[in-house]
Amino acid sequence: MMHKLSSMSAEQKTYLQGQKRNAVLVQISRFLIFILFIGLWEGCARLGIIDSFIFSSPSKILYAMTDMMRNGTLIQHVSITLAETMISFALVTVLGIASAVLLWLFPRLSAVLEPYLVVLNSLPKSALAPLLIVWLGSNMKTIVIAGISVAIFGAVLNLYTGFCETDPDKLKLIRTLGGSKADSLFKVVLPSSIPLILSVMKVNIGLSLIGIVIGEMIGSKSGLGYLIIYSSQVFQLTTMIMSIVILCVIAILLYGIISLIQKCYLKKYS
């Protein structure tokens, strides 16, 4: 490494240093914005510029969080929301891939169903949640189905479109080797669609969380969605904002995990 550095031309060194400085600057700026925002919020609340009863403050939120951690309620709400999101995400992934495969296998079926899928996909899914609660009752199953309903139609359509875009010459290769439609599916369509599946999953994890929170808001006695609605009704805005902050963190973490898997895959196969 040292040798490599010394054999580098001066121009290359300057270029690399410039790149590095740029990256550091971006990181520092991001961090500063965060600190500035938190500081401004806390300061304004303490000085009475904003009403801390309505807007809360970072310290109050932190205090509420530790308090709820200590009596165990926060863990319970967070784990329920997380569990429901993971279950609905897993089901969306499995059902989405399975349905897209079926549509790909039977072109006539997809021709028949296409308009229905398009309508269901463009429907604002939050409108379905109250109906689901009435039909299925307010329990965890309903919440999970609400989560699925938000993500599934888009997932099926995106995956199906991707499957149909498989290189026709690669499919021809399978046929010239005497392969069946199942061979095409397992040896070409699915393996070549892994990058697509990963990026669809990245979108779906967020959509599942949205569906779960909507479901919890209208038909549940636990979970972060419930906590938001409950605290708004009893005017505990600190709890409410805390729940939103936690949702933010959960969303970032879940998205981050899938991104990491995606990065590892792309690193290995490209």
Binding site: T176, L177, G178
Partner: protein
């Protein structure tokens, strides 16, 4: 007379779309004997590739019949190997498992067939790259791997659909030479479709000139060189080469 490996008898074919019918092949008859290397040249879009798809059994002739070893051709990928324009090696497989793809699909992965594939990899210098990804190989080596994938199935007849057209000119010459030698060495019967006249002459024992769409056999030109042990590369410098070139050129521009 020895029976031909492949016989095409008065075959015609048309494409059907909503807007109408496009005749692609009309009354084609030809025979290929075992071990022969045949090249088909013709104006672009004349239906050469359609013809190969039909020989491979992907399309069925609307009129006429195709006989392989005297029997009507059914879809039998086991006997016919097809090399496409691009190598289509799968990036998510290693070279080794790409080469075994055909055996895997035809459920013929036995110790013997795997050993045969490994021998082919060894004799054509790809054994070092067994565990490499296709993107790590040069264009020429990729085309070799694609040929080995086809040869692993031990086909009686090889169909080559402009297999070098995706390569740059220099690579094309050396890969053509390379693939030509391998096919001769493995004693395979082959039909090459190309629009490159020089390529056709350099590799083939007979060149068939197709007419404009709908394609028919316009002329069959046997290629014979006085030099012993010709290879595709050495054929190019043979004195007869330019005569054949001119003859085919004239045929292609016959009615232009």
């Amino acid at each position: 007379m020895e029976q031909s490996l492949l016989e095409v008898k008065d075959v015609s074919y048309a494409y059907h779309t909503k807007s109408g019918e496009t005749p692609a092949l009309s009354h084609i008859s030809l025979a290929v004997s075992k071990g022969e290397f045949l090249a088909i040249v013709g104006p672009s879009g004349c239906g050469k590739s359609t013809f190969l798809d039909m020989l491979c059994g992907l399309l069925k002739p609307e009129i006429g019949e195709i006989l392989l070893n005297g029997n009507p051709l059914e879809f039998s990928a086991a006997k016919i190997g097809y090399m496409l324009q691009k190598d289509h090696l799968f990036e998510w497989r290693t070279i080794y498992s790409n080469v075994l793809l055909g055996l895997e699909i035809q459920k013929k992965k036995t110790p013997e067939t795997i050993r045969h594939a490994e021998e082919l990899l060894l004799s054509y210098g790809l054994d070092k790259f067994k565990d490499a990804r296709p993107s790590q190989l040069s264009g020429g080596m990729r085309q070799r791997a694609a040929l080995i994938r086809t040869l692993a199935l031990d086909p009686e007849l090889l169909l080559l659909d402009e297999p070098f057209s995706a390569l740059d000119y220099q690579t094309r010459l050396s890969v053509g030479d390379d693939i030509g030698k391998i096919i001769k060495k493995e004693r395979k019967t082959a039909i090459l479709v190309t629009h490159d006249i020089s390529e056709a002459i350099s590799m083939a024992d007979r060149v068939i000139v197709f007419s404009k769409r709908p394609a028919g056999v316009q002329k069959i030109i046997p290629v014979e060189f006085s030099m012993p042990d010709r290879t595709p590369m050495s054929s190019r410098s043979a004195p007869e080469f330019k005569n054949y070139f001119n003859e085919i050129w004239k045929e292609l521009n016959h009615d232009a």
